[in-house]
């Protein structure tokens, strides 16, 4: 076809109008028989993703989902069995959407799947996906790789508070038991310290006991010791962060 608007005369306009109208109608008509073809479930990672350019492009969503990239940033998931409650994720989070309440255990409470000993109970491990900015920083700092972004992206709810995902599996009783154990251990420790202090000097004993109760309040300052054993290169980075 000639250049548009080149023939700007009365009859030129009429011819051009018919030409363009008919080519427009042809363009749309071509799509109708193509409607028999459907979009294939090819992942965006696939080399052939852009090859299919014709046929119905939309998908009937809840019944058919397009596969999403494995490493995409979707919903956060914490494998709580592997979590050592180091609190790094909560610290690095730019929007403070991770809420952790650690309770120190008196002894090692188990091992993660990569063999790291767990020493802290997660009384509370909440991630508020409504606040999340999907930066993925928490997943990079996680020493045991228990905090990941899953492929689940459809978690819209009617109530915004439903976007708060609790990951802790501890019951109220377990939490209070753990607290009581910790308290007991603390007391014993304090008593021991007192005894030591008494042995040294009786005048300083009262001050020491009040100091001994302190670590309970300063819980989040816990240093992730297990990592140091595991991965050496990471340790240096983390040290820098902590400093």
């Amino acid at each position: 076809m000639k250049r548009k608007g080149a023939n700007n005369t009365y009859f030129g306009n009429i011819t051009e109008a018919f030409d363009t109208l008919i080519s427009g109608l042809k363009t749309t008509w071509k799509h109708i028989p193509l409607a028999r073809k459907k979009r294939s479930a090819k992942n965006v990672d696939s080399d052939k993703y852009f090859e299919k350019q014709e046929g119905l492009f939309t998908v009937q969503y809840p019944r058919f989902e397009m596969p999403v990239p494995e490493k995409g940033r979707y919903q956060l998931h914490n494998e709580i069995e592997d979590c050592i409650v180091c609190d790094k994720c909560a610290k690095v989070c730019p929007v403070d959407c991770i809420d952790i309440e650690p309770v120190k255990a008196t002894e090692e409470i188990g091992k993660t799947s990569d063999g790291t000993p767990k020493r802290i109970h997660a009384a509370k491990f909440d991630i508020d996906m409504a606040k999340c900015c999907f930066c993925g920083l928490c997943t990079t700092v996680c020493p045991t790789e228990c905090l990941t972004m899953s492929q689940d992206y459809d978690y819209s709810t009617f109530d915004i508070t439903d976007h708060n995902f609790p990951f802790s599996k501890m019951t109220e009783k377990e939490i209070s038991d753990a607290r009581a154990d910790l308290e007991k251990a603390m007391e014993e420790k304090a008593a021991k310290a007192r005894k030591k202090a008494e042995n040294r000097a009786t005048s300083e004993s009262s001050e020491k006991s009040s100091e001994a109760a302190k670590p309970k309040a300063a819980k989040p300052k816990f240093k992730p010791r297990p990592m140091k054993k595991k991965i050496d290169s990471d340790t240096d980075d983390n040290k820098k962060d902590d400093n």
Partner: protein, 365 residues
């Protein structure tokens, strides 16, 4: 009476399938699925929508002119539906046998605009009133070429009776009182009378070839008549929400919607009757293959009725399909572009067609 009952039922049935077809075709053109949930492939979607609309509340805005607002959908629907009275269905069923059928149909369809203006004014809504104004401004531009395009047919057939026009184009041409003989491409000197061949050759656009352009003009203006894209200025959804029916809800909205699709059907019926051979078959008799006779039935019997209704509806539906196709292809015209098209291009063209038809009839027929 048969005609009335047929059209009443057919209009509702047509409304259901046309809206479904519109949604599906638009979806396919845009590489989407369209309705898929209700019924097989979404077939019952329109039915569900109508059912929902019937249950809805009639909302009257506080500042609405209530009597006008309430009665406007009825006027729009009645004006549209009354025009169906003169559409002949087959060689036996003539509908209302008015001698001035074409004139009546064009006149009563124009009443439609009154309802639109009432709806727009009564809503007391800026979008509605702008839509109504546009509609009224638009009618001046397109009704003239519309009337002129029809005039060419009337000159050719020498009658205003739609059944008479239909008979002239069919193999039952002996029933017509005048201008019954049709010659191949309107050329009498060739000496080929195509009346007994019937079929597509005896359609008005082939009896009088200049009417092909007349048909194009009629079709373009009929799009404007039914407020369809690319002439949907009165309801331009991207600018005016829904134009004159912005404030309507529930059953009244459903009636306006049905009337809109009804006008599409009506203009298609009129185009078919005037230009495309009405209820006659498109298949001609070729030698021993009496295709036209086989697909026309015998006059006076039920077979002729069934064939007549079948061909008429098939042709009209094809035109409706083209209207839908056009809607989802072309962008909307601006008001000045519509005026430009109506006055500078369609009206002179229609006048020239009338002139040529007149000369042709004097010189060659």
């Amino acid at each position: 009476m048969i005609s009335f009952l047929f059209f009443l039922g057919f209009l509702v049935f047509y409304g259901l399938i046309a809206i479904y077809a519109e949604r599906k075709i638009s979806a396919f053109i845009q590489d989407r699925y369209g309705p898929m949930e209700v019924g097989y492939k979404g077939l019952l979607q329109t039915f569900a929508d109508i059912l929902k609309l019937l249950q809805k509340e009639h909302i009257f805005t506080f500042a609405a002119d209530k009597p006008l607002f309430a009665i406007a959908p009825t006027i729009i629907f009645v004006a549209m539906f009354a025009a169906f009275a003169v559409i002949p269905l087959s060689v036996n069923i003539t509908g209302s046998a008015v001698a001035t059928g074409v004139y009546y149909a064009l006149a009563i369809v124009s009443l439609d605009i009154l309802g639109i203006l009432m709806a727009g004014w009564g809503s007391n809504n800026k979008y509605a009133i702008i839509g109504a104004y546009r509609s009224v401004a638009q009618i001046v531009s397109y009704e003239i070429p519309l009337g002129l395009a029809v005039l060419g047919v009337i000159m050719m057939s020498g009658t205003l009776d739609l059944q008479e026009i239909s008979l002239q184009q069919s193999i039952f041409y002996e029933g017509a009182t005048k201008n019954a003989e049709s010659y191949l491409f309107g050329l009498k000197f060739l000496g080929i009378n195509v009346g007994k061949y019937g079929g597509i050759l005896s359609w008005n656009i082939f009896r009088m070839p200049p009417l092909i352009i007349g048909f194009v003009i009629f079709f373009i203006t009929s799009l404007a008549e039914s407020n369809r894209a690319p002439f949907d200025l009165p309801e331009a959804e991207s600018e005016l929400i829904a134009g004159f029916h912005t404030e309507y809800s529930g059953f009244r909205f459903a009636v306006i919607m049905l009337a809109e699709y009804g006008v599409m059907l009506l203009t298609s019926f009129l185009a078919v009757v005037l230009f495309l051979g009405s209820w006659s078959t498109p298949l001609p008799n070729i030698g021993a293959l009496k295709l036209a006779d086989w697909t026309s039935g015998t006059p006076g019997s039920i077979s002729a009725d069934l064939w007549g209704i079948f061909w008429l509806c098939l042709k009209a539906m094809t035109l409706v399909l083209v209207q839908i196709w056009i809607r989802w292809t072309f962008p909307r015209l601006r008001v000045d572009q519509l005026m430009n098209l109506g006055w500078k291009y369609l009206t002179p063209a229609a006048l020239i067609i009338i002139f040529i038809v007149g000369l042709w009839k004097l010189a060659l027929l």
